[in-house]
């Protein structure tokens, strides 16, 4: 079966090719959907080829682990709500980082065993050792080159950080954890932990392959991932997840080098580079620098000064709101995270269609970071069937607000907060916002006085031309629909 390794190699090559082509397609809206399928085929080919590798043991265990892992992830990924996508990405990404760290650990442990068992106990023959030897059955492991050892350790470090960091990100987004965790001297402690982890890594790379060092190395690495992520505010999580995504890619590439597997090297490196760039693009879209996201005082400032705003929120009834919009010429609808939570997109689109039938010019205005992930609102509106040409980007619609009669803000908060422009002490100061305050009238749908992701007050809700329509997003949209229908009959 001398052709078998070549065939497996060819499969890996095909997989790498399909990954790249798949990612290429995913980065263009027209072809995005096919891209994931291409990449999926590549993955299938690579996994099947690996099963066919000639010198594999524990095939039953491998199959079991694969089936369990796939089943669990498939099930959870299928049933999770669209709004929970970011934390699921964090979770799966953490798993990948964990796997990479695990590979690194397995390599290191294998070499410890060889160093302590293999050489001294074979000759002279000592029957009392045969049992342990048979038990250990240590096969001849080729020693790792210094480069491989170094990269393996580095990959393990990065993978472990990505693992624990992603889990924290998951827990935060899932609401399992208080959003911020800050203590004095935090940065110094973090730096120290990282330094210690690196020191242990260097020891390992230098050949000190002893169990306590390995253990300390992994504990420190995991701890650092934890500590690094804890102080970061929830609003920055997508950026952080993207960063850990790039981390995992790098970890996979480095472990791929250790295993001599080019498909892993290439896929990992492509993701590492793509993820790094994507992280920067995301941070830019949220008007933050990466350094600011990781070490900034975003969360801290928000916790401090909770500004009081003069005036009161003025409520409005659904019937009045419906009438206002029914007789308006131009209406803009600004959806936000609340629409996603309430799953109100279908009702909102029903309402918009009724307005359009009445001759009202309706547009949807989408802020790039509305919701909890980039493109969140586009996805939801697309799901509800809103045609593309009614959806406007922030840059396109901002100049139109002064000519707009009514803006219906539904579940959005931070992305329409004028304090991002007026208040330099605000944690979101400098973020570009949808200029809805420039419109003639603003109607805001939300459940109560809850703050948005940044956890701050919003001057818009107290403005003279703003009316609050309290209630759950879906219920309120439903009311608007029925009031509008009542108008016509």
């Amino acid at each position: 079966m001398s052709w078998l390794p070549t065939l497996v190699q060819a499969c890996y090559f095909l997989a790498a090719l399909l990954f790249i082509l798949g990612l290429k397609r995913m980065s263009s809206p027209r072809t995005a959907r096919g891209g994931i399928v291409w990449a999926g085929v590549g993955m299938l080919v690579a996994v099947l080829a690996t099963f066919a590798l000639p010198d594999m043991q524990n095939r039953g265990l491998i199959l079991a682990a694969v089936l369990i892992g796939v089943a669990a992830a498939w099930w959870s990924g299928r049933r999770v709500a669209m709004t929970a996508m970011p934390q699921m990405v964090a979770l799966y990404n953490g798993m990948g980082g964990g796997a990479a760290a695990g590979i690194g650990a397995a390599e290191l442990v294998a070499h410890v065993q060889r160093a302590t068992v293999a050489v001294p106990d074979t000759y002279p023959l000592r029957p009392e050792n045969w049992v342990t030897e048979a038990l250990h059955q240590v096969p001849a492991v080729a020693p790792l080159s210094p480069v491989a050892l170094g990269l393996g350790v580095l990959g393990a470090l990065i993978g472990a950080v990505s693992f624990s960091g992603s889990l924290v990100a998951f827990a935060k987004l899932q609401g399992w954890m208080d959003r911020r965790f800050v203590f004095p001297g935090q940065r110094v402690v973090n730096l120290l932990v990282l330094l210690l982890a690196v020191v242990h890594g260097v020891m390992l790379a230098a050949g000190h392959l002893e169990s306590p060092v390995i253990l300390a190395f992994f504990v420190l690495s995991l701890l650092f991932g934890l500590l690094m992520t804890l102080p970061i505010g929830g609003a920055d999580m997508p950026v952080v997840i993207s960063l850990y995504n790039a981390f995992t890619g790098l970890a996979v590439a480095f472990e791929g080098y250790v295993l001599g597997n080019e498909a892993m090297i290439i896929a990992g490196m492509v993701v590492g580079a793509a993820g790094t760039l994507l992280t920067q693009l995301m941070a830019k879209a949220m008007n933050r620098s990466l350094g600011n996201v990781l070490f900034g005082s975003f969360g801290a400032a928000a916790g401090g000064a909770a500004q009081e705003i003069a005036g009161a929120q003025k409520p409005i009834e659904a019937a009045d709101a419906a009438v206002m919009m029914a007789y308006a010429e131009r209406v803009a609808i600004v959806p936000g995270y609340g629409m996603a939570v309430a799953q109100a997109q279908h009702k909102v689109w029903e309402f918009a269609k009724l307005l359009i039938e009445r001759g009202v010019k309706v547009k949807f205005a989408i802020h790039p970071v509305a919701g909890r992930m980039p493109g969140h609102m586009n996805v939801l509106l697309a799901e509800a069937g809103v045609p593309y040409d009614l959806i406007e980007d922030m840059d396109d619609i901002n100049p139109e607000f002064p000519n707009t009669d009514v803006v219906l803000v539904i579940g959005a908060n931070d992305v329409v907060n004028p304090m991002a422009k007026t208040d330099p002490t605000s944690p979101i100061y400098g973020m570009p916002i949808l200029d809805v305050a420039a419109a003639k009238h603003v109607i805001v749908v939300k459940r109560g006085k809850g703050t948005g992701f940044a956890g701050i007050e919003n001057a818009l809700f107290y403005a003279d031309n703003t009316r609050m329509l309290y209630g759950d997003g879906q219920a309120a949209a439903g009311q608007l629909v029925s009031e509008l229908k009542a108008l016509d009959s």
């Binding site: 594999m56 397995a106 994507l278 493109g375």
Partner: protein
């Protein structure tokens, strides 16, 4: 095992490829693309399978088993989530003339 410089070339070229692919992606694709690249590094599953396939002591086997479990989760979960997100783009992409 591939030698140092060749590996360096592969690292460099793969990095360029990844960078260039993402270079001009629209904001609305950021999340699906993050998820898609998350799926792609699910190839770590292959590495984990190799690690478990070469493990001999119980400890190594346990480690390998967990690694395979995690890697499989990364790959399968990444696929499902990405597929679901991109599914959403179907209706709008279906009407190419619609874009204003």
């Amino acid at each position: 095992m591939i030698d140092g410089f060749v590996a360096l070339y592969i690292f460099m070229l793969a990095a360029f490829t990844g960078h260039e692919i993402i270079a001009r992606v629209p904001v609305i694709l950021h999340t699906p693309l993050m998820s898609g690249s998350n799926f792609v590094h699910g190839i770590v599953l292959v590495g984990a399978m190799i690690a478990l396939g070469h493990a001999s002591t119980p400890f190594e086997i346990g480690l390998g088993f967990v690694a395979v479990l995690l890697g499989a989760g990364n790959a399968a979960g990444g696929y499902v989530v990405t597929e679901r997100m991109l599914e959403m783009f179907k209706p709008s992409a279906g009407k190419p003339g619609d874009k204003a």
